[in-house]
Amino acid sequence: MKRLLLLLALAAPSFAQIVSATSHGAVVAHDGRIHLDRGWTADGVQNATAIVVGPDRVAVLDALNNEAVIADLTTGKTTRVRTAETPIAGAFVGRDLYILARDARLVERIDGPRFRVDPDPAFLREAGGRLYVYSRATGVIEEIGTKRRVTVAPFASDFEISGSTAYLAFPREARIRMVDLRTMKPRGAVTVGAVPVDLAFAGGGTALTARILAVADPSAKRVWLTETTQSTAQAIARGFLRGFLGLGLFGSRSSQFPTGVDRVAVRDKLWVAYDSSSGTLYRFTKSKSSVIAKGIAPQGFALTAGGVVYWKDGTLVAQERAR
C-alpha cells in the first residue's frame, strides 16, 4: 500500500501549470494568473492549456473555456479574447496572433479571418512567416492562407519544422517522415526506434552538416539521435552521403529512464527529456542522464538561455545551465 501511494504521488503531478521561455524571461500560467519571472503578474485564464510565445507578447490559451489572454511582456497589460472551440495552439506572425481551434476545425486570426482546416487538426507551426497545420485524421499538412497542401499520413504524434523541412513522428509505424514545404511534397521516411513519439532539433542543419533529430522513444526507453537525410545536392557538396544513424543513448535493459521518456527538448547544448507517466524531468547528454525534478506537469518546464526552469510546488525553480 505504501508503494502504491508513493507511485500515485509521483504519477499525479500538479496540473494546469504551464511554463514558457520568452525574450523577457520565463512566463508561467497557473491558478488563473500569468506571471513573468521577476516581473509582473496579471489575471489569466481558468485552465491554462498552452502558452503561445511571440517576440513581445504571450498568449495563454484555455482550451476548455475557449478563451485566450494576450499579455504584453514589457508591461503585463492583458487583453482577453474569445476563441472558437478548443484553442489548442497558436503562433504570432508579425503583430498577428493566429489560433488553432481544434474542435471548430479552423485557424483564426484574432480580429481577422478564419481558415477552415481538415478534421482533427493537432499542430500549428510557423516557418518563414507562413503557418502550417497538420491534421491527424487525414494526415494532411495545409499551408494557411494558400491552397497548398500535402497528404503525408494520418496519426502523427509530433510535427516540427526546421528550415523548409517538416518532420512528423509516427509512433505506430516507428517512422519519421519528412516533407519539403517549398514543394509541398514528401521527402522520404525513415524508421526510428520502436515508438518515436516526440522530436526536437539537436544541432546540425548547416551547409556541412545534416540536421540532427533527438527522438523520444518511450517504448525503447531511449532518446535517439538521428541525422536526417540531405538532398543529393547537399550530400554531393559535402562529398558524401550520410544516412540515418540510430544512436540510442541508453539501452532498455539498463535504461536510466525507467519508464521511458516521451518528450524531448533541446536548446543549444542543453538537452532535457520528460516522462509524462511519472512527471519526471531529466537532463541528459550522449553518455548519461540525471533527474532534474519529479512531479512536474507535462508543460511545466521550459528551456531558457540560462538553463532549465520548472514549476514545482507553487514555485518557479531555475536550474542553471552550468550545473
Partner: protein, 502 residues
C-alpha cells in the same frame, strides 16, 4: 463474446496494435442519463459489478467494475460512494499507466491514460482530465474507442461541443457495425446537449433501426437466449453493449420525440424500452408524462418510483407534474400510505409519501419519513437533499382569521418557533374554517366530533366534544389553536372548538 482478445500480457513491441477496443470494454455513456432521465433500479447491476470485482483481478474487469459502480451509485444519488468508485478507477488507471510504461507497452499506456482522464472528468477535475486525454491522443489518435472515451469525458465535464468533435473522430474510425452504432449514439448525445437536435435525431433513428434490424440478428438471438437486460455504462462484450445501447438510443429518441410534441412516436419508443426491461424508470416516467389520465399517470409514476426511488430528476418531475394537478384521488396516494404501513410499504411508496409531504408543506412529517429512510440509506444524497429542504424554515407567522391550507400547514411546521408574543396573540385569536369531521356520532340531538381535516390539514380536539344540533360531516367550525398533536401517524392541529354551524 465481443472483442474476445483481452489484454495480452507484456508486449515489448508497440505493434501489433492494441486499442481500447481490444480491451474488451466499450464505454457507452459518459454517465447515466441521470441528468435528463431517471435511471433504472440498479440493485442487480450493482450486485453483478461487485461480483465481477471479486471474481476478476484483471485491469479491464476492475476498471469497468469501478466505473460502472460509480455511475450506478451516481444514478442513485449516492454521490460520495460514486466519487469513491471513480477515485478507485483513477488509482487503477494510474497504476496501469506506470506498469505499462515499465513494460514498454504503449498501447496499454494510452488506454490507461485515457481512462485515467475519464475518471478525473467524473471527479470534476477539468485540468487534469484534459491533460490526460490529450496525452492519450498523442499515442492513440487512430483509436476509435479512445475518442469515444474522450467524448464521454468532455460530456461529463459539460463540454458537449468538444464531445461531439471527439465522437465524430470515433465514428470516422469505427469499423464494426456495433462500434459504429455506439459512437453514433455518443455523437447524437453530444449533439443533443449542444442543441443540434436535427442531426442527433437522424443519428438516433439510424442507430435504433440498425440495432433492431436483421444486421444484428445473431446478437438479438444471443440476448434472447441469455435473457440479458442489464444496463451498463462501460459494457464488456457484445451482448452487454447491444442491450445497453438499444435501451439508451430508444430512450433518447423517445425523449426527443416527446420534446417536440410527437407523443405517439415517443410512446412507441418508451414501450419498446419496456418490452426489453419492464422496470425502466426513464421509460415509465416518460409514459407517465404522456399519460391520458391522472390515474394512469399516477400508476406509471408509482412504477417509476419503484424502479428508482432516489432519482432526483424523477422526484422533481413528480413534484411538478403530479402533485399540483391532483387535489384528491390517485395523486394523494402518498398520503394514504398509513393504511399500508408495515411490510407492504415499499421504498418507492415511502419516497412518494415523503415527496408529497414535502411538496404540500408537511415538513415535520416529511422530516420524520426521511429520517427513517436515512437510517437505512445514510449515504444517499437525494435523501439528504430532501431532508435539507424539509429543514428549511420560514419565519413563523400566525394564520389569518379564515386560514388557508398553506397558512395552517406553515403553522403546523413552525409552531415551536412562534415567539412568546405570537403565542399570546394566537391564544387570543379565533379562526373560522369549513371542517370535514371524521366519526361523527349523533345522539339526543347532539353531534359528537373529535377530529377531522380543514383544507386537508388534520386536526383534533383534546377530547370528544358534543355540539347541540345534528350536523353533517362538513360544517363551519370556529376555533382556537392550542398546539400540535398527532392524528394517526401524522401531525395535526390541536383545536379548541368555539362553535359549529351547518
Amino acid at each position: 463474446m465481443r472483442r474476445p482478445s483481452v489484454i495480452p500480457s507484456v508486449s515489448l513491441a508497440p505493434r501489433p496494435r492494441r486499442s481500447l477496443a481490444t480491451l474488451g470494454m466499450t464505454l457507452l455513456f459518459a454517465f447515466p442519463l441521470l441528468a435528463q432521465q431517471p435511471r433504472i433500479a440498479s440493485d442487480f447491476e450493482i450486485a453483478q459489478m461487485e461480483k465481477q470485482l471479486a471474481r476478476s483481478q484483471s485491469f479491464e474487469a476492475q476498471l469497468s467494475g469501478r466505473l460502472n459502480l460509480g455511475d450506478l451509485r451516481a444514478a442513485r444519488s449516492e454521490l460520495s460512494l460514486a466519487r469513491a468508485e471513480y477515485g478507485r478507477a483513477y488509482e487503477l488507471a494510474e497504476r496501469e499507466r506506470l506498469d505499462a510504461r515499465r513494460d514498454s507497452s504503449l498501447s496499454r499506456y494510452a488506454t490507461a491514460t485515457s481512462y485515467a482522464g475519464l475518471a478525473q472528468a467524473k471527479l470534476g477535475r477539468k485540468g487534469r482530465a484534459f491533460e490526460l486525454l490529450e496525452e492519450s491522443a498523442r499515442y492513440a489518435s487512430d483509436d476509435a474507442e479512445s475518442w469515444n472515451v474522450y467524448a464521454s469525458a468532455m460530456r461529463a465535464l459539460g463540454y458537449p461541443r468538444k464531445a461531439a468533435s471527439a465522437a465524430r473522430n470515433a465514428v470516422a474510425l469505427a469499423k464494426k457495425p456495433l462500434d459504429v452504432a455506439i459512437y453514433q449514439h455518443a455523437l447524437a448525445t453530444a449533439l443533443l446537449e449542444s442543441g443540434e437536435n436535427d442531426e442527433a435525431e437522424r443519428l438516433l433513428v439510424t442507430v435504433a433501426e440498425s440495432l433492431r434490424s436483421s444486421k444484428f440478428e445473431a446478437l438479438q438471438r444471443e440476448v434472447a437466449r441469455g435473457e440479458s437486460f442489464e444496463i451498463y455504462t462501460s459494457a464488456r462484450g457484445d451482448v452487454a453493449a447491444y442491450v445497453s445501447l438499444l435501451n439508451r438510443a430508444q430512450l433518447r429518441l423517445a425523449a426527443l420525440y416527446e420534446q417536440r410534441g410527437d407523443a405517439e412516436r415517443a410512446r412507441t419508443q418508451y414501450r419498446r424500452v419496456l418490452d426489453a426491461r419492464s422496470d425502466d424508470a426513464s421509460a415509465l416516467a416518460g409514459l407517465a408524462r404522456l399519460a391520458a389520465t391522472d390515474a394512469e399517470r399516477e400508476r406509471l409514476y408509482a412504477e417509476a418510483f419503484e424502479a428508482n426511488p432516489f432519482s432526483m430528476a424523477l422526484i422533481r418531475e413528480y413534484q411538478h407534474h403530479v402533485i399540483p394537478s391532483v387535489s384528491e384521488g390517485p395523486g394523494r396516494e402518498g398520503l394514504r400510505d398509513p393504511a399500508l404501513t408495515g411490510p407492504s410499504l415499499t421504498l418507492g411508496m415511502t419516497m412518494r409519501k415523503a415527496v408529497v409531504q414535502l411538496t404540500r408543506g408537511d415538513n415535520r412529517a416529511a422530516r420524520e419519513t426521511l429520517d427513517a429512510l436515512l437510517v437505512k440509506f445514510p449515504e444517499n444524497e437525494t435523501l439528504r437533499t430532501l431532508r435539507r429542504e424539509a429543514e428549511q424554515t420560514r419565519p413563523a407567522s400566525l394564520p389569518s382569521p379564515v386560514p388557508t391550507e398553506n397558512e395552517l400547514r406553515a403553522l403546523l411546521d413552525s409552531f415551536e418557533r412562534l415567539t412568546p408574543e405570537q403565542r399570546v396573540a394566537l391564544d387570543r385569536a379565533s379562526f373560522t374554517s369549513v371542517a370535514t369531521f371524521a366519526n361523527a356520532q349523533v345522539a339526543n340531538q347532539q353531534t359528537v366530533f373529535e377530529s377531522g381535516t380543514i383544507a386537508g390539514v388534520p386536526f383534533r380536539f383534546s377530547e370528544p366534544m358534543a355540539f347541540n344540533g345534528v350536523f353533517g360531516v362538513s360544517a363551519r367550525l370556529t376555533y382556537r389553536i392550542l398546539g400540535i398533536t398527532r392524528a394517526g401517524d401524522a401531525d395535526a392541529l390541536l383545536l379548541e372548538p368555539l362553535g359549529v354551524q351547518p
